[in-house]
């Protein structure tokens, strides 16, 4: 029994992966624009997204498709067929397809980059006189600020499109559900409650959209780290490697399924919200 008792909670701290000390401090008045690990990961994700877009689309299309063109067409078809067509009205597809597509690709690549070990981290080790960063995994999308910023873009786009296509009064009027009893002194409380709930639910969308992606990536990384970290927590020989198969299983589950689904759902829900604002149900 004693062999299992943990002694080493002081030397193993999985939460350190998510520490973000400033590497290049930049302070603009009250704004903290410092460059840290998450910012660098965002740059990497953005660069890879741009390069993939150029690689797929900028070499011309031919009638006998190469593998590159087939990949591009598969991605296009996934976004067009599964996300955009069913949720956006046809007159808005031209405007909002690029947004949904880049949202999907950007989040997808940020998530994938988050599971590839990269030499971007806060810790350093010495090799032949050189100070090199240790290799580690970290996802920019496992940071609430990143996902909240992405969700805010969708949030503002939704209401801007709703007001632009329906006018201010009709759009906010469309939030009041149909089928309510006529408004008078008796039903005023009911009306107030329902309208309040509808308005709150608009803000809950913002929370659920950002927290879903953030918590998924955070939990995935934590799970892998804790399972590997059993090596440092348990000190007797065979048992300390008990978590490794689980860690590998979770790693591949995340990399194959979760990474794609979360990007897919984020983009699909953005399309549904924007489409729903352009053409309200009543």
């Amino acid at each position: 029994m004693n062999a299992f008792l943990l002694a080493a909670s002081s030397e193993f701290k999985p939460q350190e992966e998510f520490d973000l000390p400033a590497w290049v401090p930049i302070h603009l008045g009250p704004l903290d624009m410092s460059i840290n690990k998450a910012v660098v990961y965002l740059w990497v994700g953005a660069a890879v997204t741009i390069l993939i877009g150029i690689w797929i689309m900028r070499f011309g299309l031919s009638l006998r498709p190469t593998r590159r063109q087939t990949t591009g067409e598969a991605i296009y078809e996934l976004i067009q067929g599964q996300m955009v067509e069913g949720s956006l009205p046809s007159r808005a597809i031209g405007t909002w397809f690029p947004y949904v597509a880049s949202l999907f690709l950007f989040i997808w690549i940020l998530n994938i980059v988050g599971f590839i070990p990269l030499p971007i981290s806060n810790d350093h080790f010495h090799l032949a006189g050189l100070e090199l960063p240790t290799w580690g995994i970290y996802a920019a999308t496992a940071n609430l600020s990143v996902t909240l910023a992405l969700a805010l873009v969708t949030f503002f786009a939704t209401h801007e499109e709703g007001i632009r296509h329906n006018g201010f009064r009709r759009y906010f009027g469309s939030w009041i559900p149909s089928g309510l009893p006529p408004f008078n002194a008796k039903t005023a409380i009911l009306w107030g409650l329902i309208v309040f709930l509808e308005y709150v639910s608009q803000f809950m969308r913002l929370v659920s959209l950002s927290v879903r992606l953030f918590a998924n990536m955070l939990a995935g990384h934590m799970l892998i780290l804790v399972m590997i970290g059993l090596i440092f927590i348990i000190h007797s020989a065979p048992w300390r490697y008990l978590g490794l198969p689980g860690a590998f299983a979770v790693y591949f589950f995340e990399l194959v399924i979760v990474v794609t689904i979360q990007a897919f759902v984020f983009a699909l829900l953005s399309a549904i919200y924007i489409g729903g604002a352009i053409e309200p149900e009543h």
């Binding site: 927290v211 879903r212 918590a215 939990a219 689904i261 979360q262 897919f264 759902v265």
Partner: protein, 86 residues
């Protein structure tokens, strides 16, 4: 085992918070597990009855999966917040 428990002298409040956190997330996972099982079960049934609808249903299935799965993470996040703040 009994002696180990009786000999606990550390921070009992932290112990309680850790147990509460674990139980809370576990209960959240129960609900999501049932929901995800329902979604995939219905998907199998639907495709068995009308295989030609598979393409259309797949998108809806993953959407439902992600919406249901997120419930665990709301529990996780609430638990973490309570663990850190209380």
């Amino acid at each position: 085992m009994v002696t180990v428990l009786a000999a606990t002298t550390g921070n009992v409040a932290d112990l309680g918070k850790a147990i509460a956190f674990g139980v809370g997330v576990g209960l959240g996972a129960v609900g999501a597990g049932i929901g995800i099982g329902n979604i995939f079960g219905s998907m199998i049934q639907a495709v068995a009855r009308q295989p030609e609808l598979r393409g259309e249903l797949t998108g809806i299935q993953w959407l439902g999966f992600a919406l249901t799965e997120a419930v665990v993470f709301y529990a996780l996040l609430g638990g973490l917040l309570a663990y850190v703040l209380v």
